[in-house]
Structure formats: structure tokens, C-alpha cells
Symmetry: C2
DNA sequence: TATTATACTTGCATATTGCAATTAATTCGG
DNA sequence: CCGAATTAATTGCAATATGCAAGTATAATA
């Protein structure tokens, strides 16, 4: 059997390209990291700064600054928690939600285009496989450990 | 059906984590980009500076400097071509080959661990799916365009 | 031979990153 | 209840990475 790593190396690189392109929306350009942040804030329930940073595996100090940029761009809102005023929860502004939704659509369109080169059976197989892969990585102790999914 | 993008977002992020961890070998620490460069030089036949840069989608000036680092680390060799002395081909040094092989082993070990959470049928399905995905992305005009694979 | 094109490198200005230290708020031990 | 230790988040700073514009060297073309 051929080198498994080879297959995954190519795949991840290609997705890197895809992500690079897919990140401008609503007038403002969004970097890849920024799109991941928007995604994560959108999918967690009132997450704190730390929670999102950890989910993304980003250093907390770096993340703090990334959030500052997104706040300046008026895409993210930071609210102190009354119970514990050290903690600040993050949420998307209306504009942030719009941008996140737009990126989501774009990515789905790109993926749709990729899948258009397969038949329905292959497409279903691939989607099921990605799901399997995610589950397996979630179980893995060696790597890939993220609280999400 | 659930959001396809969501599945791929999680997957690519997890692979990002995996890659982050998997890149120290033979005493020296290797960054993610550097590991991709080593991989690519190893898999192309006497590639020029430009060819590798393009394969990786990196700006040529940035790439030039990345290669300089790798040469300093004694992992890569740059040789001018006699026929056309503007062109320089890249190759791995003995140490570079060793490091590339080590990273390859590490990555395969990680992937093996991930696959250990599946049965054989699932594993084969997933590998076949990744292959399908690579082929589809190669065909895609919208994105992911790379000379490789 | 002069112009144009190509392959690669450097200058500079900007952006990203992470460690160490700081601030502010909370919890714990006596 | 007060001071020490803990936690969440931010800033200082230094190192690294990035890309555009310009430069150098070689080759192709007219």
C-alpha cells in the first residue's frame, strides 16, 4: 500500500490553498486564522477568550491580540461576565455573523465544486469518511486533541 | 444533511494540530513550512527553486529565504544548473534525507494511531476517500490548484 | 548588439508569534 | 477577615515570517 502520509500531506496542503482563497467577505478581507476564530465563536455557546484560544490551539497572548483586531473590524464583541469579572465572553456582531455566514457559503460552494467531480456514491463515502476521521482523531491521545467535535 | 464545511473545518484544524507536533527530528526543530519544503524537494525530481515555491503556493522571495535557512541548517543543497545558470536545483543533504524520513515515520505513526480507532473496513474506506478527494481537488478549477499529485 | 525576459536574491516595511512580566479579579489558608 | 496564591486577560519586547519593489545575474530574442 502506498504511503498514507503522502495522501494526507497532499490533502491538507490543498485545503490550505482552498482556505487561503475563501476568506474575503462583506468588503473586508479575512485571514485564515480570523476565519477560524469567527467560526469557533459562532459554534460555541458564549465562549470565554481562553476557551476559544484553547480550541484553536493558539497562544493566549497571540489570541488576545487577534481578538483586538476583530473587535476593531467590528466583527466580534467582548463582554465581561458579571459573576467573574476576570472572564470575558466573545460573541459575533451582526456584521460578524454576516461575514461568518458568507465565508460558510463560499466554503460550501468550493466544496460543492470539488464534489461535482464525483458521483453521488463517492461523495457520500467521502463525507462519511471525514466524519469517521474526525471521530478517530477525537479519540486519539497522541495528537489532535481539541475540546471540540 | 449536516454542514459539510463544518466537517472539513474540524478535520483541517485537527490536522493542523497534528502537523504542529510532528515536526522535530534529528536534534533540530523543524517548522511546519519547513517540513512541507523538505517533503516537496524529496518528492520532486531535481526541482528548481521556483518549482518548489509554486508547488507550495509560497511567494518566491519568502521561499528564497526559507531555503537559505534550510541550507544553513545543512538540510538542503542548492546547485546551479550548468545549462542555465540562472536556475538552481534543490536537493536534500544526507542529513536532510534523514530528517525527512524521520518526519515521515512520525506522521505515519500518528496516522496509524488515529486509524487504530477504526476497523479495517473503515480504514480502507477512509484512505480511498482521501484519494478520491485529492483527485477531485486536482480536477477543480476554482481552487486548490497545484502542479502536484 | 541592444532590448527584453527569466531566475533568483536583497531592502524594507509590516505582520505574526510567544515568552516574560503586568494588571485585575477571585479563591484559599490561617 | 486579610494576605498569599491562583486565574483571566493584557502589554512589552524581541524574534520570525511575509510580500512588494527593486536589484543582480544570466539567457533569449530581435
Amino acid at each position: 500500500m502506498e504511503n498514507v502520509r503522502e495522501l494526507f500531506q497532499i490533502m491538507t496542503r490543498r485545503f490550505g490553498f482552498l482556505n487561503k482563497n475563501c476568506c474575503s467577505a462583506g468588503g473586508c478581507d479575512i485571514s485564515l486564522v480570523q476565519s477560524h476564530i469567527l467560526y469557533e465563536i459562532d459554534h460555541q455557546h458564549k465562549p470565554s477568550v481562553q476557551q476559544v484560544a484553547e480550541a484553536l490551539g493558539t497562544d493566549i497572548t497571540t489570541f488576545s491580540r487577534q481578538i483586538q483586531s476583530l473587535i476593531k473590524m467590528n466583527l466580534v464583541k467582548k463582554t465581561p461576565v458579571p459573576d467573574d469579572r476576570r472572564v470575558h465572553v466573545l460573541s459575533l456582531t451582526t456584521e460578524g455573523k454576516y461575514v461568518a455566514a458568507t465565508i460558510d457559503q463560499q466554503m460550501n460552494a468550493y466544496l460543492g465544486e470539488v464534489f461535482s467531480h464525483m458521483n453521488d456514491f463517492e461523495k457520500e463515502t467521502v463525507i462519511r469518511s471525514v466524519k469517521l476521521l474526525n471521530e478517530a482523531m477525537a479519540k486519539s491521545s497522541l495528537c489532535c486533541t481539541t475540546p471540540i467535535g
